[in-house]
C-alpha cells in the first residue's frame, strides 16, 4: 500500500498556481492579472525585460509581498502566504541572486539552521548524511564540512539549493541563477535542474538569457509591463520568436562596427609596454603584456574570467604595482600617478563587479553619480556640496545614456536590481566622457534591449573619439564591437587580431589555452 504511485490527478493539479494576481505600488501596477501554473516535474522559465514584474511576482509567490488582489493555490488549495517563513513551511523555496548563507558557518550548520524540524540538540553527523545523500542524488557536490565563506559562488549556490531541498521545498524559485556563475558552471546547474525535475520538483526560474531558456526550460511565461504575454512550451519555438514576444517587437539589430578605424599617426591613449604584475595567490597576474588603445577605437579583450583581466584593470588604474614594463596614459608615463590623477587625465572604468567596486551601496543614485568627481560639485572653496547641481548632472547622465526609463535619483543603490545598478554605473562612467574607457562586462545584468543600448552607446562614443578597452567573455559582443581583438590566457596575451581575420572558434581555442594548428 505504500508504493509511491503518482496519482493521475497530480498531473492535472499544479503544484503552485496563481490566478489573477495584482500588485499595486502606489501609482505603479507592478503585476496586473497574472495567471501562472507550475506543475511538478517541470522547469518553468519566467522571461521579461528589466522592470517587467518578474521579481514582484516571485516575491508574492513565496510570501514576501501580499497580492493586492488575486489568489494563490497550492496543490489546488487556496493559500495565503503571509511571509517567507510561511512559504517555506508550505514547500516553496527561493534561491536569491545574493545568497542568504552565513559565511562563517560550515555547510552543515547553514543547512541545519534552515531545517524546520531542527531539534535544540542536533547531530551534525545525521545532517551531514542527509546532505551527502541529496548531494549524490542531485549532483550538488560540496564538502559538507567546508566553511561557506571559502566556497566559490557556484558552490555556494549548490549549498543554497541543498538547504531549501532539505527543508522540504517542492517548488524551487531561482532568481537569475546563472548571473553568479562562470560560463562553464552553467551546464552543471542545468544538470541539477534536470535531476530535480526527474524527481518531481517544480522549478521556476527567472532569466533574460534566451539560450538558457532553450537549453533547459519546458515551458516559459513571458511577462511584459506586469502582464503575462503568453505561456507556452519551449519545444517548437525559435529563439527569435521568443525574443520578439519578450520585447513586443522584432529584436533590435545587433550593433556592430561598420567601418574600422585607421589609427596610423595618432598618439595612443593607453600603452602597456611589457607589463608584468606578479600574483602570489593565483599565480596568474600579468606576464609581459603589451598593447595600445588609440582614440576612436574599441580594443576587445577576450578571455575566460580570471585569466588576468582584473589584474589588467588594476594595473591600468594603478591599484596594483607592476614589477616590469611601463604604462603610458595620454602620452605620459604614469608610473607614480595616484588613481585620482589618472581619472582626471581622462580615464574611466566600468568594473567587473558594480556593487563591490563601482558603487556606494548605502548612498542614493544621485550621490553615486559624482563619485570621484565630487570636487566639481563643491562650492565655497571646494567644500560645500551643491546637491542641486549633482541632481541635475545625474539626470543628464541618466537621460543621455539610456533609452528606457532610468532608475529614480532618490533610490538607495543597495536596493537596485543588478540591471539598474549596471545602468547607473554605465551612465556615470560614460556620461563623464572620459578619453579612455575601460569596460568589463558591460552588459552584466542588462536585459536584451538595454544591453543593446549599452553597446550602441559605446559605438556612439567611439565615433566621437573615445578609446575603449572592452573586456568580455561574450565573443559575439567582442566580434561585433571590436576594431582589434586581444585574447588573454593565463596572464599572457596569446593573440591579436582584426575580428574579420579570425573566427570565434579560433579565439575560443586560444582562450582556453590551445593553439591554432591550421593557418
Amino acid at each position: 500500500m505504500l508504493t509511491q504511485v503518482q496519482a493521475p490527478t497530480n498531473l492535472a493539479t499544479p503544484l503552485l498556481e496563481a490566478r489573477g494576481l495584482v500588485k499595486q505600488f502606489g501609482d505603479l501596477r507592478a503585476n496586473d492579472n497574472v495567471n501562472i501554473a507550475i506543475y511538478p516535474g517541470e522547469v518553468h522559465a519566467i522571461l521579461g525585460e528589466n522592470g517587467a514584474g518578474k521579481s514582484t511576482l516571485m516575491k508574492m509567490l513565496y510570501g514576501f509581498y501580499q497580492p493586492t488582489a488575486g489568489q494563490i493555490f497550492l496543490n489546488g488549495q487556496p493559500m495565503i502566504i503571509n511571509s517567507p517563513q510561511d512559504g517555506r513551511r508550505l514547500g516553496i523555496g527561493m534561491v536569491f541572486q545574493n545568497f542568504t548563507l552565513i559565511p562563517a558557518l560550515t555547510v552543515i550548520e547553514n543547512v541545519a539552521l534552515f531545517l524546520p524540524d531542527l531539534r535544540a540538540v542536533f547531530s551534525q553527523k545525521e545532517i551531514e548524511q542527509r546532505i551527502k545523500e541529496a548531494s549524490a542524488k542531485y549532483d550538488l557536490r560540496v564538502d559538507p564540512r567546508a566553511t561557506v565563506g571559502e566556497l566559490s559562488m557556484g558552490e555556494q549556490q549548490k549549498v543554497e539549493i541543498l538547504k531549501i531541498i532539505l527543508a522540504g521545498a517542492k517548488v524551487l524559485i531561482f532568481d537569475e541563477p546563472t548571473s553568479v556563475l562562470a560560463p562553464h558552471e552553467v551546464g552543471g546547474l542545468f544538470q541539477v535542474f534536470n535531476k530535480l525535475r526527474a524527481d518531481g520538483y517544480a522549478i521556476l526560474f527567472i532569466t533574460h538569457k534566451m539560450p538558457e531558456v532553450m537549453a533547459v526550460a519546458d515551458r516559459i511565461t513571458v511577462l511584459r509591463r506586469g502582464r503575462v504575454v503568453e505561456t507556452m512550451p519551449v519545444a517548437g519555438a525559435t529563439e527569435t520568436e521568443l525574443v520578439t514576444m519578450l520585447l513586443g517587437s522584432a529584436p533590435p539589430e545587433a550593433a556592430r562596427i561598420t567601418q574600422f578605424k585607421d589609427t596610423t599617426g595618432q598618439t595612443p591613449l593607453l600603452i602597456f609596454d611589457r607589463i608584468t604584475v606578479p600574483d602570489e595567490q593565483t599565480k596568474i597576474g600579468l606576464k609581459e603584456v603589451s598593447f595600445q588603445v588609440f582614440p576612436g577605437e574599441i580594443v576587445g579583450v577576450a578571455g575566460v574570467s580570471g585569466n588576468g583581466q582584473q589584474t589588467l584593470i588594476e594595473a591600468a588604474l594603478g591599484l596594483r604595482p607592476h614589477t616590469a614594463g611601463t604604462i603610458h596614459l595620454m602620452g605620459e608615463n604614469v608610473a607614480n600617478w595616484p588613481v585620482e590623477k589618472k581619472l582626471q587625465a581622462g580615464l574611466g572604468c566600468i568594473p567587473e563587479d558594480p556593487l563591490l567596486m563601482g558603487a556606494i551601496p548605502g548612498m542614493r543614485v544621485y550621490e553615486n553619480m559624482i563619485l570621484g568627481e565630487q570636487h566639481q560639485y563643491a562650492d565655497q572653496g571646494g567644500l560645500s556640496m551643491n546637491w542641486k547641481r549633482v541632481r541635475d548632472k545625474a539626470t543628464q547622465f541618466l537621460n543621455s545614456t539610456f533609452i528606457s526609463s532610468a532608475p529614480r535619483l532618490e533610490v538607495m543603490v543597495e536596493t537596485l536590481s543588478g540591471g539598474n545598478l549596471q545602468r547607473v554605473i554605465i551612465a556615470r562612467e560614460v556620461g563623464r566622457q572620459p578619453k579612455l574607457l575601460i569596460a568589463y562586462y558591460v552588459a552584466r545584468g542588462l536585459d536584451i534591449s538595454n544591453a543593446e543600448a549599452a553597446r550602441r552607446l559605446l559605438l556612439k562614443h567611439r565615433e566621437q573619439g573615445m578609446g575603449i578597452l572592452l573586456i568580455s567573455e561574450d565573443l559575439d559582443e567582442l566580434f561585433a564591437l571590436s576594431d582589434r581583438l586581444l585574447v588573454m590566457h593565463h596572464g599572457h596575451i596569446v593573440g591579436t587580431f582584426r575580428p574579420q581575420e579570425t573566427t570565434a572558434h579560433d579565439v575560443g581555442i586560444l582562450m582556453t589555452g590551445g593553439t591554432i594548428t591550421h593557418a
Binding site: 501580499q66 588613481v339 585620482e340 581619472l343 563591490l356 548605502g362 563619485l371 570621484g372 560645500s384
Partner: protein, 356 residues
C-alpha cells in the same frame, strides 16, 4: 491569522521611532528595578533619589552637564572615525594623553602667561596630545599593518601607565608627601567655570565640536567623501578618494577631541593631574556613539542619559548603600536591550542620517 502580517506591520509602524526606543529604556529600568529588589532596596525610592539628584534640581542638572562635557567629546571621538568605518576604542587613552600633554604645558609655563594665552595653549596641547596618541594606531592601520580596533584598545592601558609614570615621577608634587599628584595648576591656565557651578569652558568646546562636525558631515565634500569611504572603501579607492589621508586626519581629530575631554577634566575639574582621574569616560563615549548610531544629535541625548546614570551611581551609593558599580549593571542592560533591538531596525527614533 488571515491578516496577521499586515496588522503586525501596521503595529510596527505605530510603535516605531522614539516610542519604541523609550519602551526599550523602560524595559532596562524595569529589569534594574528587579536587581534592586533582590538586594532588598526600594526601586521606586532609588529612582526618585536618582531623579532628584540629577535632573530634578538645578545643582543636579549642573552636575549632569559636568559629566556630559567629556562624554560628548569622547563620543564624537568614536563617531568621526566610525564614519569611514574605523572603530576607535581608544578614547580613554587619548583622553589621558590629552591631559598629560596639557599638564606638561601647564607645569612648564607655570603662571608666566596671561590667561588669554595660557588657556588656548592648554586647549591646543590637550588636542594635540590626544590626536598624536590616536595617530599611532591610525598610521599602523593606514599602512595596512594593524587593525585599529585592537591597537586603540590596547594603547588605552599604555596611556594610563604613562600618566602614572609622570604622576609618580617627574610631575609629582614634592610637597604632597606620598600622594601621587601634580602641583595645583596656576589660575592662568585653568579653564573658567560658568557661574558658580562646576560646569566649565569645556562645554563650549564640546558644543563647537558638535556643531562643526554636524556641519562637516552633513554639508561638505569631506562628509560626502567620508560616507563614500565608510560605505565602500573599494569603490572609493577605485575612484581616487584619499583613504590614507582620511584615516590619519579623522583619527587625529578624533583623538584630539578625546584629548580635549581629558584636558578639561584636569584643567577645570581637578586642577591638577591625578592617576585615574577618568571614571571611564572614553569607554562610555564608545557606548554612547554606538547607542546613537553615530548620529551627532543622538550623541547629545545619549550623553545626557549616560551622565544621569553615572551620576545616579553616586546617589545609589549614598542613599541606598549600593556599590557604584551597580549602575554598570544598568548601563549594560541598556546596551543589551537597545543593541539587541537596533539590529532589527537600524533607525530607532533618531531621524535617519543623511547628507542633503
Amino acid at each position: 491569522m488571515l491578516n496577521g502580517n499586515s496588522l503586525a506591520q501596521i503595529g510596527k509602524q505605530q510603535f516605531s521611532g522614539l516610542l519604541r526606543y523609550m519602551a526599550m529604556l523602560a524595559l532596562a529600568l524595569l529589569v534594574f528595578a528587579l536587581v534592586l529588589l533582590i538586594f532588598g532596596k526600594n526601586p521606586a525610592q532609588a529612582y526618585a533619589d536618582i531623579f532628584s539628584s540629577t535632573i530634578g534640581s538645578a545643582y543636579g542638572l549642573s552636575e549632569v552637564l559636568v559629566k556630559v562635557i567629556p562624554l560628548v567629546l569622547c563620543a564624537l571621538a568614536v563617531l568621526l572615525p566610525a564614519r569611514i568605518g574605523l572603530v576607535n576604542v581608544g578614547g580613554e587613552g587619548q583622553l589621558y594623553m590629552g591631559a598629560l600633554l596639557a599638564t606638561w604645558g601647564a607645569l612648564a609655563v607655570g603662571d608666566s602667561l596671561p590667561a588669554v594665552i595660557g588657556i588656548p595653549l592648554m586647549i591646543i596641547l590637550g588636542f594635540v596630545g590626544g590626536g598624536l596618541w590616536a595617530a599611532i594606531p591610525a598610521f599602523l592601520r593606514a599602512k595596512g599593518w594593524l587593525n585599529e580596533t585592537i591597537s586603540t584598545l590596547l594603547l588605552n592601558y599604555v596611556a594610563v601607565l604613562w600618566v602614572n609614570f609622570f604622576v609618580f615621577g617627574p610631575f609629582k608634587d614634592p610637597e604632597s608627601a606620598n600622594f601621587p599628584q601634580s602641583v595645583l595648576f596656576a589660575d592662568s591656565v585653568r579653564l573658567p567655570f560658568i557661574g558658580s557651578s562646576r560646569v566649565h569652558f569645556g562645554l563650549v568646546l564640546g558644543l563647537i565640536a558638535l556643531v562643526v562636525l554636524y556641519f562637516v558631515l552633513k554639508k561638505t565634500r569631506w562628509g560626502y567623501e567620508m560616507r563614500a569611504i565608510g560605505g565602500n572603501p573599494e569603490a572609493a579607492r577605485r575612484h581616487g578618494l584619499p583613504i590614507t589621508r582620511y584615516i590619519l586626519v579623522t583619527m587625529f581629530i578624533a583623538g584630539g577631541l578625546a584629548g580635549l575631554a581629558g584636558m578639561g577634566e584636569v584643567m577645570a575639574i581637578q586642577g591638577r593631574l591625578r592617576p585615574g582621574f577618568s571614571p571611564g569616560y572614553g569607554y562610555m563615549g564608545f557606548l554612547i556613539s554606538w547607542l546613537a548610531l553615530h548620529n551627532p544629535l543622538g550623541v547629545v541625548v545619549m550623553s545626557f542619559l549616560i551622565a544621569i546614570i553615572a551620576l545616579g551611581g553616586d546617589t545609589l551609593q549614598i542613599t541606598q548603600g549600593m556599590p557604584f558599580s551597580s549602575v554598570n549593571v544598568l548601563m549594560s542592560l541598556i546596551l543589551f536591550i537597545v543593541l539587541g533591538k537596533f539590529f532589527n531596525n537600524m533607525s530607532f527614533g533618531w531621524p535617519k542620517w543623511e547628507a542633503k
